[in-house]
């Protein structure tokens, strides 16, 4: 579809939001404390933030929930009776105010979840979302989207992109049929473009990702990994806040005869992640797990998924308790 550009007055933005919120599920960011921005379902428009740099968690949970039931079962003496999940009950959701880095992550997640076999749960959830992105008019020292082939106003994964204009109104880029359908519900709110300029944040280019990817192929045994991960305390914060990290664990939980199988978020930063039944652990120490994190995103994924495993949102670094600044390490790897 050809992109259409329209203008939305500030008041119209509120009308658009309220129209959507009154008729369906809408997932929008609100400020919950001085350091936390959370996405919530159908908050009041007055609580929705347009000023946040990044939400605490990404919105990946909409397509990859932290717990996803895969099926229910009942065990009898003879057999296990499986009851499938009805995927048709997954509701349509409009994601509102997602920044371009987070919307770009959906395609990368698809490259993981639909690599060989199409993951039904993920695919259905992805099908049900409409993404209204908000270009970034603010950034901070943790942002590095421009170093991973994106920008503060890139439109990957977006159905409609809103951008702040210099006069306080918003520009709407209608990018897909899904976006067009949404606009057609309230066409009067969208006016002809006013010619005002967009306010877009500056994000410094920190490294050449192609150079990093090429260097990574020869540094598996380099002392860099131990030296640069000494302060890593081995928690899973970076993986869980990451919009791209997709590792999960599968568990069965039973109560009497009945039970369920679910998958839940997991992290390669944990030692249990690779512990074998024999007791052997191929990634015994944290430096090996830190290496895996970087290798997976910047070497294995470009190789296998034809995509970088990173959108430069900076969450891993801003939420790290010990300031393991990923961009800084990638910068060092560029020159290793």
């Amino acid at each position: 579809m050809e992109t259409t550009i329209k203008s939305l007055r500030k008041q119209s933005l509120e009308k658009l939001y309220n129209h959507l919120a009154s008729s369906q599920k809408i997932y929008a960011p609100i400020v919950t404390s001085d350091k936390q921005v959370e996405f919530r379902y159908n908050p009041e428009f007055r609580d929705v933030t347009f000023e946040h740099i990044r939400s605490t968690l990404s919105v990946k949970n909409v397509v990859f929930p932290k717990i996803e039931n895969l099926f229910y079962f009942t065990n009898t003496k003879e057999e296990s009776i499986i009851k499938d999940i009805d995927l048709n009950i997954i509701p349509e959701v409009v994601l509102w105010g997602v920044h371009p880095c987070d919307s770009a992550a959906f395609d990368i997640l698809r490259s993981i979840f639909c690599w060989d076999i199409k993951d039904e749960f993920f695919s259905k959830r992805l099908e049900k979302i409409t993404v209204i992105t908000l270009s970034c008019h603010k950034s901070d020292e943790f942002c590095f989207c421009t170093s991973v082939n994106l920008s503060p106003d890139s439109v990957k994964g977006s159905d409609i992109q809103l951008s702040l204009l210099q006069n306080g109104d918003y520009q709407a880029e209608i990018l897909t049929e899904k976006g067009n359908e949404l606009v057609s519900q309230v066409p009067d709110l969208f006016e002809q473009p006013s010619g005002e300029k967009k306010v877009i944040a500056g994000v410094k280019n920190k490294f050449d990702n192609k150079k990093v990817t090429s260097n990574l192929s020869g540094v598996f045994e380099h002392p860099f990994w131990i030296r640069n991960s000494l302060r890593c305390i081995g928690c899973g914060a970076c993986a869980f806040v990451c919009p791209v990290c997709a590792c999960f664990d599968i568990q069965d939980e039973t109560k009497g005869k009945d039970g369920r199988r679910y998958r839940c978020w997991d992290s390669c930063g944990f030692s249990l992640f690779t512990l074998h039944t024999s007791g052997h652990n191929p990634r015994q120490i944290q430096s090996q797990r830190w290496r895996q994190r970087i290798m997976h995103k910047f070497s294995y994924m470009p190789d296998r998924n034809n995509a970088l495993g990173c959108v430069g949102c900076g969450r891993c670094s801003s939420s790290c308790p010990v300031d393991m600044n990923l961009a800084e390490q990638l910068e060092a790897l560029q020159n290793i």
């Binding site: 968690l57 302060r231 568990q251």
Partner: protein, 267 residues
Amino acid sequence: MNSLVNRAKMLLEEKSVNVVIGYEAGTGGTARPAFISESADAEKLIYNEHCVHNLAVYLSKQEVRKMGKIGIVAALPVMRSILMLIAEHQVDPENIVIMGISHDGSLLDIENIQVMKDYISKSDPGNPERYKDKLAELNKLSMEERFEYWQKELSKCIKCYACRQACPMCYCTRCAVEVNQPQWISVKSDISGNMEWHILRAMHLAGRCISCGECGRACPVGIDCHLLTMHLSDQVYKYFRVYAGLSEKMSSVLSTYEPNDKENFII
């Protein structure tokens, strides 16, 4: 801070230590843990109000242990953690040099464990002042209200275990949540799984927590989980008249029986 840098340089040059664990400048004017093994790099060391991480957590990390003798920049919470780690036989006092930092940020002359204990004994061993209001506020709530408060707070938990990893006293090489045959603690991060985890964590730290607040600071989703362990520190003091991290000879309050232990809290 010249005295800290000079001390680190001297320790490294004399080969009294192989590495100094301290702080360096972090992203955006903050500070972060640093590992200095060359005396020329000692200049990187800083100490200011951003240096809040409890560095004692690194004393049980495999890669750090392998480095040999360790110099460690230690403000009061770090010193108390070190005493606990010695008491629990996790740290050999012969293997560390303590570069103590006083309340006002100046370098202390900590020659040995006794000097450190004397210094610690001059400070208030209870929970830090800045947490007392919130603790008192929670204590005023009824049991139901408190349960509701924690259910709401803990529903945010994503089970990243930053609280555990940031804690010097959570040094187990295999945590109870990592035992999966059988699976004692639910892996998933829903309200019951989260409650199980946080109750387990708090109980394992009762009588061992030195109230540094690192667990809460490390939490990426802003759960004040330090209030749980701090409340238990108050409770342990109430029943046993003991605070953690004041002596290197302390036995664990909740896993040791003394004939004069009060039993009136056992219903």
